[in-house]
């Protein structure tokens, strides 16, 4: 066996973090295809005019479509999504990246912005589920 520096399962040991893997990328392929379609102004217009109809032109799961309609970024990540694709959606909405990112923390946008101004979230207690550190 070749040497590994840590078991790959350890990537699942980080609190509040989903590591974006090839499998997740595949799961979210059509969701991401939708996200990247929003890099075109004409598509953004079509999406804004009728979100549901536009989403139905993509082979996404119903759960993924619903999470887009809900702008539920935690759920979109649960369904395979990655933030760099997903911000195409929040950019289309005119949201700042901070607003999109903060929406996943359970804090209001103001609370999250205040936390960042105060130096951000400390890594203490956030490194490992197992180690609790």
């Amino acid at each position: 066996m070749r040497e590994r520096l840590y078991p790959l399962e350890d990537l699942e040991d980080i609190p509040g973090t989903t590591v974006f893997t090839a499998r997740r990328s595949r799961q979210a392929y059509h969701l991401h295809k939708f996200c990247m379609s929003l890099m075109d102004a004409e598509n953004r217009k079509r999406f804004k005019a009728d979100e549901r109809a536009y989403l139905d032109t993509f082979r996404m799961s119903d759960d993924q479509k619903q999470a887009v309609l809900d702008r539920d970024f935690n759920q979109l990540i649960e369904l395979g999504g990655n933030i760099y694709f997903l911000v195409k959606l929040s950019n289309t909405d005119g949201w700042s990246t901070q607003k999109a990112v903060g929406s996943m923390t359970g804090m209001t946008a103001d609370e999250y912005a205040a936390m960042m101004r105060a130096g951000g979230r400390s890594p203490e207690g956030q490194r490992s589920k197992r180690g609790g550190n």
């Binding site: 973090t17 989903t18 090839a22 990655n82 933030i83 911000v87 903060g102 996943m104 999250y112 956030q126």
Partner: protein, 280 residues
Amino acid sequence: MAKITAGIATSHVPAIGAAFDQGRDQDEYWKPVFDGYEWAKEWIKDNTPDVVILCYNDHASAMMLDIVPTFALGFAEDFEPADEGWGRRDVPMVYNNTDLAGHIAEQLVIDNFDITIMNQMDVDHGLTVPLSLMFGRVSEWPCKVIPLAVNVTQFPTPSGERCWQLGAAIRDAVACFPEDLNVQIWGTGGMSHQLQGPRAGLINPDFDNEFLDKLIDGTDDLRKITRLDYLRESGSEGIELIMWLIMRAALGEKVEELHRFYHVPASNTAVGHVVLKPLD
């Protein structure tokens, strides 16, 4: 002969680009960020390179959906700023030096780096925000740019050690290019930040400052940082720092730090910026 004369590292936060583009760079929030680049903006006026090799990551703008290259070298004559969902940044086109890019591509493959050649792509904020920070508002960029995109998004990313080796190979490739060219290498992204999930907003100044210290003369330690270490200590997007290792390795063993800046926050991110000069 071509020579790498300096290395620059900087974060490449999209909100910095938005603040810059919308003229908010002197706001209370953004002024401290932009002030941190004033020294380098002055310095580079007298040290403008012919070519920048710019290590950055594509944020699902030109790749990552259908194709996920670990290392991708831009080989088009020019690159247009990408529309990332709110229109293209109003910044100049990016022009390549395809002679040097082609030479580097050949040399890297000969040295066992199986890189991807990008004959057409747009470049996103990962590449254009560092150019804006260093050169300000200009009608054209004052140098050619060879984009080198690194996958830091989909696991497994290349290791820090692999990035180090790539940087060392780039150094050798540039050194054997026959034309007299002043070349800089820039490493972008970082520092600590996490853009997803309930742990979003993570910032680790201790990790970041140790990284900045060791970038000068503790690089053996930096090469050993694993992907898991980056995730735990610097947040899921902090792993962008592996691109700084490409830059650092391309400078050779000894460097002088000309400038250093660290600031929290810019949007979700800790901003780090250094200017290094090779001493060998």
